[in-house]
Symmetry: C2
Subunit: 167 residues, 2 copies
DNA sequence: GAAGATTGACCCATCAATCTTA
DNA sequence: TAAGATTGATGGGTCAATCTTC
């Protein structure tokens, strides 16, 4: 059988293991220092960066790589916590915007330096400038190569365009 | 605030997004072509590779990056499916081995080429030999740099040594 | 009492079905 | 009828408590 070689498998295994561990560490840091789960942080980052600080539920689901229904429930929790507010879209009343609230921006302001410090400490600090650039290029290239994943029915990213994870 | 720069954030975002997408794709390929979830595959790979084709529950949990309780339930399902069998450890009767069955090895034999093809197609094929080597080194170095994660109570990897994800 | 593993309660995500508006 | 979003049922994971054996 045509198959991948050992060096590639070693790289793949390291990639997987590193991802599992580093997300665990970042999650825990954010949780203990700011008391917020990483999923919340991701949502707040996306909304803060969006025009008018709001996004349609569908776009947000795509951005944070969650199913539509998953996002509905996540926004439920964020709204209950007062960090996000739902606003119905006036031009198309089927649609709903999720908008970050002042309290949400305040939380984000507290969380961002913690998370960025984590990314720096557990990732960026160990890469040379050249490596950083190369890793960015490489993974963007790999993403582009994944066949525009003709996603499953409930999945939000049929549009397949813009998603950008936490930063 | 001292913080990570934009190039590093771009690399980080690409890393995260690629991981989310590629695991999704591999998961779906394995599911549709062999009818087995990726978690099952990971367990079978670990057991097949282990001495006597079996591992203590704790070691297995560590290897597949799952909590002890999570692994208990996963092995429950695998045992129900006949792919794995529990054997009590004769020398220390507190302990339990999970051992791959003939049926499990057969399943693995069917699954492995599918999964490896996926890794090749969506990962290895896009890397030069030099890049493959560099990615492997880089992530292994990053793993080593993560403070030996003094893990949470229930987490299996207090031993922190050997875990190797799916291959 | 501590270690290995399991169990019960709970959290969060997904899928399929549903409701509403276009 | 289709599109946007939500809801109900369910799968699979974690934590804390428990059981068994050392």
């Amino acid at each position: 059988v045509i198959s991948v070689n050992d060096e590639a498998l070693r790289a793949w295994a390291a990639f997987l293991r590193y991802h599992a561990w580093v997300t665990d560490v970042l999650q825990e840091e954010l949780e203990t220092e700011v008391g917020m789960p990483l999923t919340w942080y991701d949502v707040l980052v996306q909304l803060e960066a969006a025009p008018d600080h709001r996004l349609r539920m569908q776009e947000l689901a795509c951005a944070v790589v969650l199913s539509k229904s998953g996002l509905t429930r996540l926004v439920d929790r964020l709204e209950r916590a007062g960090l996000v507010e739902r606003m119905s879209c006036p031009s198309d009343r089927r649609g709903t915007f999720a908008e970050i609230t002042p309290a949400g921006r305040k939380q984000l302001k507290a969380a961002r330096p913690v998370h960025r410090r984590g990314i720096d400490e557990h990732f960026a600090a160990h890469l040379s400038e050249r490596q950083t650039h190369e890793v960015g290029d490489l993974f963007e290239q790999l993403i582009a190569a994944l066949r525009p994943p003709d996603r499953e029915p409930d999945r939000a990213d049929t549009s397949a365009a813009s998603p950008l994870p936490s930063s």
